[in-house]
Structures are given as C-alpha cells and as structure tokens.
C-alpha cells in the first residue's frame, strides 16, 4: 500500500505539467504555537491551533478580507458572494472552475477538481455520528434536513441521502437552505470547520484523518510531529491568487499592498511551526530571530513596552527592541473573559432578590482594575458589554459591568440578612453557613486570580473555597452544572454579536451557557435579534439583553486582553487578522 502510494505520487508529478510554482521554496517562515495542536481534520478539531493549520490547507466558501477593518467577508472559492433568496433562507454559490486538490494517492493519480458535491459531503460530515465532530452544532439545527440526517443510527449514516437544505445543483453550483433567516450564517461558512474535504481522502484514511489533510489551500502538510513541530510546504496545485485587499490605504496597509503587489500567494515556500509552551523561551527565541513573529508575553509587557498608563492601546517598544527593527501590532483579542455563577446552584444561584444581591455584592467586591493592572500587566481593558469591542453591535457607551464598591457590597449583604457570624464571616439569611467554591486550574496565572478573588471575598467577609483541577475536569463539571463559580474566556468563532450573546441563551444551558442562565425575555430577544440585520433596532435589543444580564448578575464581567503582536524587521506583509488565525500566505521574509 505504502509503495503503491509512492508510485502514484511519482506518476502524478510526471504526467501533469506543473502549474508555475510561485512560492519561493527557499523562503522559510518560522512561527510558533503556545499550545499543541490536535490534528488536521477540519471537522474533528475546533481548537485554535489545529484550525490555524487547517486554514492554510483547506478552503472555505467565503473568507475574510486580509486588511479590511472592521472585518469583511469576501468570496474565496466562489465567483462572487452568494445570491440570497427573498425569504432570506436560500443561498446559491457558484464555484470557480479549475480549483484542484493537492495530489494524494487517494486520488489514484487523477487530478481532482473541487466541486459543489465536496461541500455537500463536507457539511454532512459534520453531523456524522462516527465523525463526532465538535462543530456539528454550527449547522445541524440550521440547514434544512441536516438534523434529521444526523439521527441516523451509528454507522448507518448515508452520505448519498439527499436533503432539501444542501444541494449541488450542478458541478459548480451549491445551494444551501436554512430554517430561519440568520444574519450570521455566512460567517459560519467562513469557519474552517466548514471547509471542503475530499470524500475519497476521508474514506481512504478513515482511521486517521487527522494526519492526512488534503485540501485546495495554499499549503500542504509536509511533516508532523504531534505537539512539537508542523511543517507546511506550498501546494503546487494551488490556484493563482494575489492580494486583492486594499485596506485603509495608509500606514501598514499601504505598505503591505505595495510589498505584495504582483506577487503570487503564498510567498514563502515553507512554514515551520514549533510548539513552545513556556512563555520565556518563546519570547527569547523570537528575540534571537529564531522565530519570525510572536506576541509579547504577558509577563514581558513592562520590560518590553512603554505603555501610556491612561491608554493601554498606546504603546511603543523600548529602545533596545525598537532598534532591532521589531514592529508591534497591539490588538484587542476577539474575546470576552468573565467569571460565571451557576444559576442552578442552591447557594449562589437563583433569581430571588437576596440571591441577586449576593452575586451583585461579590461582583462589587472584585477589584477588576487592580487585576488588570497586576495580573494582566495593564495589557487588557475592562469588559463592559457581552459583545466585545470592535464587534458590530457593541455599544461603546454602555457599561453593563458592576462597579467596584466593596463598602456598598457589605452594606447590601447586611441589608439582605447575610449576617456576620462569630468567625467574622457571613452566613446565609436563613442562618446556614455561606461558602462559595471557585474552580481554577493549576497554573501560575490562575493562582494570581485566586489570590485576587480571595481578597475580594475577604473584603465582603464571605468564605471562599478554591478547588484546583485540570482544565478538562473543570470544563466537564461546568457543562454538568456542578461548579459554583468558574472563570471562562470566549473567543469569537465569527464576527457576529450572537456568537457572544448565545452564551446566556437559556436553551444553550449545559452547552455553552455555563451559568445555566434562563430568562424568558433574554431568550426571546436573542431569537429576534438573529433574524435582524445590523440596525439600530437590533442594537437596542442588544443593549436590553446586556441590561438583563447586568440585572441578574450571572456573570462578573472581567476583561478583554490586548495582545501585542510582534514581527522581526525582515518580515513583510504581516498583519494580524482578528478572526483569521494565521497570515502566513501573505508573509514574506527577506533576511
């Protein structure tokens, strides 16, 4: 089998005239991950790091403009953005012709073109029980007929069963019908999990699809040492693509447009991705130019950057770094971080006034500014809205967080009968002991957060118990609703506000709604907002939803981190995109 594969590979390269190889194979991009990847099956993985690789191997129907901010969807393998039917439910896509998968023995020496059927197959694959894709939820309840298909018994899933919502009208025309109009649906299609894979490949390597990514993207997987090193090489079959984005037309954007003018993507022939888990070596290796790009480690910020104390976005490199020609791009991460209370919990949860008061008081007791200053090293801004900054729907005037006021918190608890007992700590109004458990992970950072929370709880005289467990244990417990309080971060999957607002949507309890928050008005507003396009009407709904969350305090709003991306002087064409994970295809190294 193995030998045969080689033979095909040899045949493939001799039979076809290779398309002009644009990428310079001598240019090697050195990049790093701080967390290990999982594997390269876009349906099976949903971690940032695997997806970053997949992004360069596979193609989605639509993608993002490289330079445009705020982010903008543009056609990827389709001729133009899809046509949407009048009822807002049916999308029609026309695929470009002549897009080929990279060569693989699974194709038996035949050059394999990308067709509409590939997307039909790939989307169905997301709900195949055997695949047990973690991304199935994105499409299963939206595309007509997909959910019914997913209920097929294990192993009996038939890809050939036609479903009304997902049709290949002809070789190059794809039609998708969704149940309800959804303003974010196109964003879903830009997610790498919905990229096209070839059925032959998936069936050939059925037992190890993670290691055999075959796509139509700019790179192919050359070498993989799990959790250590991934090497990509330019895909010789990649279609001719040049940078089309123009961005703002000034500053970095203008420079990139100039640098990349007339160049075929990808520019670097080879990308070497190393996994470096510890912060210090990662940074040191960047400084020594062993890595081309990186981001400033949290703990290095003060040593490396001059930060305007009033404005964390206004930063410059300290002279010793600036003189090396290192360049920085401070960016707000597309995320929110928050601590949730379990609303189902008998002590901390519930919707009665005294429980709201308890949660509110705890939220008031937490000195978020100090945490941002000390733990985040000033490299974060407070989170004031469920929808992060720079996202459509965020109202910059709204402050939905609870202001820090431990004195008021104490007075409020007094008022609701949380009396201070003989040991100096408060009891529940009914006289029962009061203790709240915070679940954290065994990391140095979490120890700092634990200390901050300890100080907060002490200031309102409430017992805190800290439970340390591995991340996955806490994750499991949070899904099962057995935690009282836990910190979460949610990173955007796509640039829609609903991606964040769904975190408190009642029916998502036990899935993404870890607080198990349930409010009829909130749920109604959420469904309503989905149908609306960006409009003042929708913004008003978003504000109202924020206020509902503020009223019941299922969360303590924490912060949004600023990440300062850096690149060495010899790197060109690099701009960090908020949603796309990598910029590798645009990057050039001129050492």
């Amino acid at each position: 089998m193995f030998k045969k594969g080689f033979l095909y590979l040899a045949l493939a390269s001799s039979c076809f005239c290779p398309i002009v190889q644009a990428a310079d194979m001598s240019k090697v991009l050195h990049v790093n991950y701080e967390v290990a990847e999982v594997g390269f099956d876009p349906a099976k993985t949903n971690d940032l790091y695997s997806s970053g690789i997949n992004e360069n191997i596979f193609d989605t129907l639509v993608t993002y403009d490289y330079l445009a901010r705020p982010v903008k969807l543009v056609p990827n393998v389709i001729e133009a953005m899809p046509e949407l039917s009048a009822d807002g439910r049916t999308y029609t896509f026309h695929l470009k012709k002549g897009i080929y998968f990279s060569d693989d023995p699974a194709f038996k020496g035949v050059k394999r073109e990308l067709t509409a059927e590939d997307y039909v197959y790939s989307l169905k694959r997301l709900v195949d029980p055997v695949v047990h894709s973690p991304n199935g939820y994105l499409v299963s309840d939206k595309i007509v007929g997909l959910e019914e298909l997913s209920h097929a018994p294990r192993g009996k899933f038939d890809y050939n069963t036609p479903i009304p919502g997902l049709k290949a009208l002809d070789r190059y025309t794809l039609q998708i019908t969704i149940k309800e109009p959804n303003s974010s649906f196109l964003y879903f299609l830009g997610m790498i999990h919905l990229a096209a894979v070839a059925r032959e490949v998936m069936e050939t390597y059925a037992d190890n699809t993670m290691a055999h990514p075959v796509g139509t993207g700019p790179y192919v997987l050359k070498e993989w040492k799990p959790a250590n090193k991934i090497v990509l090489e330019a895909n010789p079959n990649f279609r001719h693509v040049e940078l089309e984005s123009v961005g703002s037309g000034k500053g970095l954007d203008a420079e990139i447009v100039k640098d990349l003018k007339g160049k075929t993507l990808p520019i670097a022939g080879r990308v070497e991705v190393s996994v470096i888990e510890e912060e210090q070596p990662r940074w040191l290796s960047f400084i020594n130019q062993e890595q081309d790009i990186a981001f400033i480690p949290l703990n290095g910020a003060r040593k490396i950057l001059n930060v305007d104390p009033r404005n964390p976005g206004k930063v410059s490199l300290k002279p010793e770094y600036a003189s090396k020609g290192i360049r920085i791009q401070p960016e707000l991460l597309p995320e929110i971080t928050y601590y949730f209370f379990n609303m189902k919990d008998p002590v901390i949860g519930g919707y009665t006034r005294e429980r709201i008061a308890l949660r509110r008081a705890l939220a008031m007791s937490f000195d978020r500014d100090q945490a941002i200053r000390d733990i985040r090293q000033g490299r974060a801004v407070p989170m004031e809205n469920i929808i992060p900054r720079n996202f459509v729907g965020n109202n910059p005037n709204l402050r939905a967080s609870t202001p820090y006021d431990p004195a008021l918190a104490n007075a409020l608890l007094d008022r609701f009968g949380y009396k201070i007992g003989t040991d100096g700590y408060r009891t529940q109004p009914n006289g029962e002991p009061l203790e709240v458990e915070l679940a954290v992970t065994p990391t140095a950072t979490d120890r700092q957060w634990s200390e901050a929370w300890q100080a907060a709880f002490d200031s309102v005289k409430v017992h805190l118990r800290i439970k340390v467990a591995k991340w996955n244990e806490n994750y499991k417990a949070s899904k099962e609703g057995s935690l009282q309080m836990h910190g979460n971060a949610w990173t955007a999957d796509y640039p829609g506000a609903d991606n964040f607002l769904q975190l408190l949507y009642g029916p998502n309890s036990g899935q993404t709604n870890d607080a198990f928050f349930k409010n009829a008005e909130y749920d109604r507003l959420f469904l309503e907002s989905l149908k609306l396009p960006d409009s003042p009407e929708r913004n008003a709904i978003y504000d109202r939803m924020n206020k509902i969350a503020a009223s019941y305090t299922p969360w303590v709003f924490s912060d949004i981190r600023i990440r300062t991306y850096v690149s060495n002087a010899y790197v060109h064409g690099y701009k960090q995109h908020p949603i796309l994970i990598t910029s590798w295809r645009y990057m050039d190294v001129q050492k």
């Binding site: 949903n46 199935g136 190890n208 090193k229 190393s274 591995k470 996955n472 899935q511």
Partner: protein, 313 residues
C-alpha cells in the same frame, strides 16, 4: 545463565500486571474524562456519548482493564485519544530526542563525576575534599528549577551563547550539536554535585578495604592503586546507580524538555497527563516499567561481568 534470565523474565510478569493495575486504577480515578476536551465548544450529551463509545469508555471497568491487558500482550496501544495518531508511532518519534539529551547527560556526568569523586575521595578529610564536599552540598541545595530558569535566561538570552531553545527534526546530530549543549550544561549543573558526593562515598568505602593495604604493601604507586584496583571495585555500586537510572533516560528529563522545547518522552507524558490521553500514558508507563525491569536484569548480568564473586541465583 540462560535459566537465570528465563526465571527473572518469568518473575517480571506479576510486576508488570501490578504496574498495569496501578496505572489503570490511578488514571481511571485521577485521569479525568478526555471526551469533553474532544467535544470542544459544541458539547452535547449525544456527542459525549458518541465519543465515549468511540474511546471504549462506555465499557465496564473490568472489560476496559482486560482490553488494556490484551493491548500490552499485542504490544499495540492503539491511537492517542487526542491526536488519533498511533501511540507506538508517537513514542518512536519521541525516544530519539530524549535519549540524545539524557544519554549525553549520563556520559558527561560519569566522565566528570567519577574522576572528581576519586580525586576527593583519595584526599578524604583534607581541605580539597572538604571544600568540594561543601561546594557540592551548596550546589545541590538549590532547586533544579532555579538552575533551569536562571540558566536559560542568563546563558541563552542575556549572553546569547546558545540558542534559547529548539530542535532540528531533520538531523539528530545537528540538534545534538546546537540544541543539546545548554540543557546539557544545566542538567550537568543540577546533577554533578549529587553524583560526585554519591560516587565519592563508594570510593571512600573501597579505600578502606584491606586489598588497598595489600596493594600498597606490594609497592604499587598510588595512581595504579586508585585507577586499577579501587576503580574496578567502585564500579560495582556505580553500575547499580547507572542501571537504575537508565529507565528514566528513556523518559527523559521532563523539565529540561519542557523548557528547551525538546520533543521527548517526558514532554509527551506531561502533555498526555494534561489532556487525559490515557493510551499514551499507559504506553509510556508500561515502557518505563519494562525498561526498569530489563535494566535491573542487565545490572545483575553486568555485576557478574565486573565482579567475579557474584553468582546469579
């Protein structure tokens, strides 16, 4: 000899079973449930059940253990739960870098520690002995973590003498030349002091033996006496020390590997524990257990070779 080895191998079976039981119990109890990691953001009951079925976690514990035993018997540990790569393949890829570091470290340790130990043992009680002993004690007193953190910061970053970290996958030799020296030096800094003290005690013990007196009475020079008569005898405990440490060469040095980005077994194990990747944990543990038993046997056979008095019973 052969019958001895056969009997020892026979005796390994219950130990191996015990190790399997221990690992199985400990990690079923402590290992955590990997399915939630695999499920990711879109967690749902069906998905979790689905993953459980896929991983065989829906079977009863005795059934799972039996499966484990069969795996060990077939030397097939299946695929990693997190990356779905063959566990044997992962281990095969990881062992090279681990050995490159720890093997070199061992050789370097022996080559430096033994001569120093002999030197100070010979001058036992004198100033040089006391100075070296106290220096070693002070050096040993600081946590290895401090050596690594400070060493990497100072030698690689501040002074730029070494690459901060990295590994060359294409050429082990190249990696060895470029990326091994710094972790090697730090590893040596951590382990040299205890080794010197350890070996010194062996040499001192040998120097008190009667045959040393005989050697002197024969008119041998001190050098011949030390390096021919004493060293050969002191080798016996050294062999024990070295062979018992050999299995852990396979495991590599977790901290060094983690800090220096060396893709070895130690790093893999930490990662696997973190991700509840049970197949990998099981395979590594069994491998270490087998290595331990194998090297214990090897130690005994080596004794026979070094020390003619030993009879293999």
């Amino acid at each position: 000899m052969l019958s001895y080895i056969l009997r020892r191998v026979w005796q390994m079976i219950p130990t191996l079973l015990g190790v399997m039981l221990l690992v199985f119990i400990v990690f079923n109890w402590a290992g955590g449930d990997p399915s939630y990691i695999l499920a990711g953001k879109g967690v749902s009951k069906e998905l979790i059940a689905n993953i459980h079925a896929q991983l065989g976690l829906d079977k009863s514990l005795p059934e799972q253990f039996l499966l484990f035993v069969t795996q060990v018997l077939h030397l097939d540990f299946g695929v990693s739960w997190s990356t779905q790569q063959s566990v044997i393949g992962i281990m095969a890829a990881r062992i090279g870098p681990s050995l490159a570091l720890t093997g070199t470290l061992l050789v370097a340790e022996l080559l430096t520690a033994i001569p120093i130990a002999i030197l100070v043992a010979y001058h036992r009680g004198k100033l040089i002995d006391r100075t070296v002993t106290i220096l070693c004690t002070v050096a040993m007193s600081v946590s290895s973590l401090v050596y690594i953190i400070v060493g990497q910061y100072a030698l690689a970053y501040k002074l730029g003498w070494f690459p901060v970290m990295g590994w060359d996958d294409k050429s082990l030799f190249n990696s060895w030349l470029h990326y091994i020296p710094l972790p090697l030096i730090l590893g040596l800094a951590v382990s040299l002091a205890p080794e010197v003290r350890f070996y010194r005690s062996f040499v001192v013990e040998e120097l008190n033996q009667d045959y040393v007196r005989t050697a002197r009475a024969k008119g041998l020079s001190e050098r011949v006496m030390l390096f021919k008569h004493v060293l050969r005898n002191a080798l016996i405990p050294v062999v024990t020390a070295v062979t018992t440490s050999l299995p852990f060469l396979v495991l590599g040095s977790m901290l060094l590997e983690r800090f220096f980005g060396i893709p070895g077994m130690g790093n893999e194990l930490l990662l696997a524990v973190d991700k509840s990747d049970f197949p990998v944990i099981k395979a590594i543990t069994i491998a270490i257990a087998c290595a331990t038993m194998f090297f214990n046997l090897l130690a005994d056979v080596l004794y026979k070779w070094i020390d003619p008095r030993v009879e293999l019973k």
